[in-house]
């Protein structure tokens, strides 16, 4: 219930939220529990992740249903001490994440595993403002003690159900297709868990591919998935998930994943230090970062996305 008091104490404004990546990321404190929107390499808020790493945050817990390179970078940079997830690696062709293995097997990072639905329900319960929701998943497995899952008795039938505990992140970081300056956010295609994550968190930071006039939001209110009064900071960041994908706008850059994975296969964790220098600590701004990929590459990925969603 402390989670609710925290929200009650906070201003829920319909005012402007537009700011810079630096200012938005500065709201993250060392030791915070951060929940990231999107899923695997889809709509990952990479511009915010990058800025959080540039600000050298420490001791973070990263919560995300399926983790990908953003998790590897946070582990390699020493920013994340714990991850709460259902799965972590890049994708089938690149095998099991070597970065995850290195950090979890050596004990420098703790990996708390929940089933995919259970993690989704942890956000859902928090978004609903209740301490738990009952479910029929995860029962009987060895995952039960990992996160300390309890059971609950249905007062009507007496049946035993899993009681999936609410998860209230300190900060939610999301990347969306469009928003107005007041933080009313719209997402195209699959929504993943973003809406629940936003309502579950105490502070909500959003990057948007496009900032649109208020009128465009009001013309299609049934497409809005996060209301402005939930959002604390909004930043305009085109290609804000790159090299991850954004539905309909650009496909994930699988070639880049390939090069990245090959470098790790060849040089292990040293390859990550180089990657962090080149892509995270080096380029001062997100557009400097995008220049490392080049306009042609971005245009190609945009074309591939249009082909798949046209």
């Amino acid at each position: 219930m402390a989670a609710r008091r925290r929200l009650e104490a906070k201003a829920k404004s319909a005012g402007e939220k537009l700011t810079s990546l630096e200012d938005a990321a500065a709201r993250v404190r060392d030791g915070d529990v951060i929940a990231a929107g999107g899923c695997l390499y889809s709509r990952t808020p990479l511009a915010l992740v990058r800025e959080i790493l540039r600000q050298r945050r420490q001791g973070l817990t990263l919560v995300r249903n399926l983790m990908c390179t953003e998790g590897e970078l946070m582990m390699a940079a020493g920013a994340a001490r714990r991850v709460v997830t259902a799965w972590m690696s890049i994708g089938l062709p690149w095998g099991v994440s070597k970065v995850m293995r290195e950090h979890v097997e050596s004990g420098t990072v703790v990996m708390e595993e929940w089933s995919h639905l259970a993690l989704g329900l942890r956000f859902r319960a928090a978004a609903m403002g209740v301490p738990f929701v009952p479910a029929l998943t995860m029962l009987g497995s060895d995952l039960v003690p990992v996160g300390g899952l309890q059971t609950v008795r249905d007062p009507y039938t007496g049946a035993t159900l899993a009681a999936v505990p609410a998860l209230f992140p300190d900060v939610a970081i999301l990347h969306v297709h469009r928003a107005d300056v007041f933080g009313n956010c719209q997402i195209d295609g699959y929504r993943h868990m973003d809406a629940d994550i936003a309502a579950a968190a105490a502070t909500v930071l959003v990057t948007a591919e496009e900032i649109v006039p208020e009128e465009e939001i009001r013309r299609h209110p049934d497409r809005t998935v996060v209301p402005g009064f939930v959002v604390d900071a909004l930043v305009h960041v085109p290609f804000g998930s790159y090299p991850h994908e954004c539905y309909g706008l650009y496909e994930a850059d699988f070639d880049h994943f390939g090069e990245y994975a090959a470098a790790i296969d060849a040089r292990g964790m040293r390859a990550l230090a180089d990657y962090l220098d080149r892509y995270v600590y080096g380029p001062p701004t997100w557009s400097d970062y995008l220049d490392l990929f080049g306009g042609e590459r971005l245009a190609r990925q945009a074309r591939l996305a249009r082909e798949l969603t046209a």
Binding site: R5, S13, A14, G15, A126, M128, N184, P221, T224, G228
Partner: protein, 256 residues
């Protein structure tokens, strides 16, 4: 009292003044919605209206006031339409600062009855429409403000049926029932502004509207009213406030 405003206008004006900027308000149709719209146009431009029909941030179109919380007039130029259940869940999560409500019957602890009058629940003498979202709004918003006409038949010692729990039996009765948040902070009526004793949670007079005497209030109240340490007099509606209201409801559908 020969006022240059109607009782409904006074209710809307005083109601609007209760709302701070940078907040959210769960508002029903009629006077509550007019009060919220007035606040938004006057001193709270960053106020977000939330409506029971699953509607967030609408801009009410002057002359096209909604009759229900579930129609296009209530959703005009909304910013989000999350569905009814999820809209209430925003309140349960703690995103709704204020709840505006009315009520057929209200008692000294701010409990409200909109279900049944007389007889028992299953065979009532008079069956009323029911709670709608009132029970949820009073249970889940951070702070609830009741707007109502002040009549003796409405202000009773004890409601026949607690549809929407105010402070229940007073003291910490509400908390003991599991309602760990919120509560009724104010009752704004056509005669004055009422609050609740911080200890006993019994209703007390906090302000009287222009030209209204304490005796007149007692006459129209079916239970013993406490008095706040200092009883203020309500600032009369300004021409500006009245002008905005009359633009919103030119046909005076709700302004009387």
């Amino acid at each position: 009292m020969s006022a240059s405003w109607t009782a409904a206008e006074l209710l809307a004006v005083v109601g609007a003044r209760q709302l701070r900027d940078d907040t959210t308000v769960f508002a029903g149709v009629g006077v509550p919605l007019l009060a919220a719209a007035l606040a938004q146009q006057r001193h709270a431009p960053r106020l977000t209206m939330v409506i029971e029909g699953g509607i967030i941030g609408p801009r009410i179109r002057p002359g096209r006031l909604p009759i229900s919380t579930n129609e296009m007039r209530a959703a005009h130029r909304a910013t989000m339409l999350p569905g009814i259940t999820d809209t209430f869940l925003f309140a349960q999560r703690g995103f709704l600062d204020y709840g505006f409500m009315g009520g057929a019957q209200i008692d000294r602890y701010g409990n409200i009855n909109t279900s049944v009058l007389g007889g028992d629940y299953w065979r009532p003498k008079v069956r009323l429409p029911g709670t709608g979202g009132a029970n949820d709004i009073i249970s889940l918003c951070r702070e609830v403000i009741i707007l109502t006409v002040h009549e003796r038949r409405r202000f009773v010692e004890r409601v026949d049926f607690v549809t929407s729990p105010g402070w229940l039996d007073g003291d910490d009765g509400r908390r003991r029932a599991g309602l760990v948040f919120g509560g009724v902070s104010r009752v704004v009526t056509t005669l004055g502004i009422f609050g609740f004793d911080p200890e006993t949670r019994r209703m007390r007079v906090e302000a009287l509207h222009p030209g209204v005497t304490l005796d007149r209030v007692r006459e129209h109240t079916g239970f013993e009213l406490l008095e706040a340490p200092r009883i203020a007099e309500t600032e009369p509606p300004t021409g500006d406030e009245l002008a905005i209201l009359r633009t919103l409801d030119p046909e005076r559908r709700f302004l009387g």
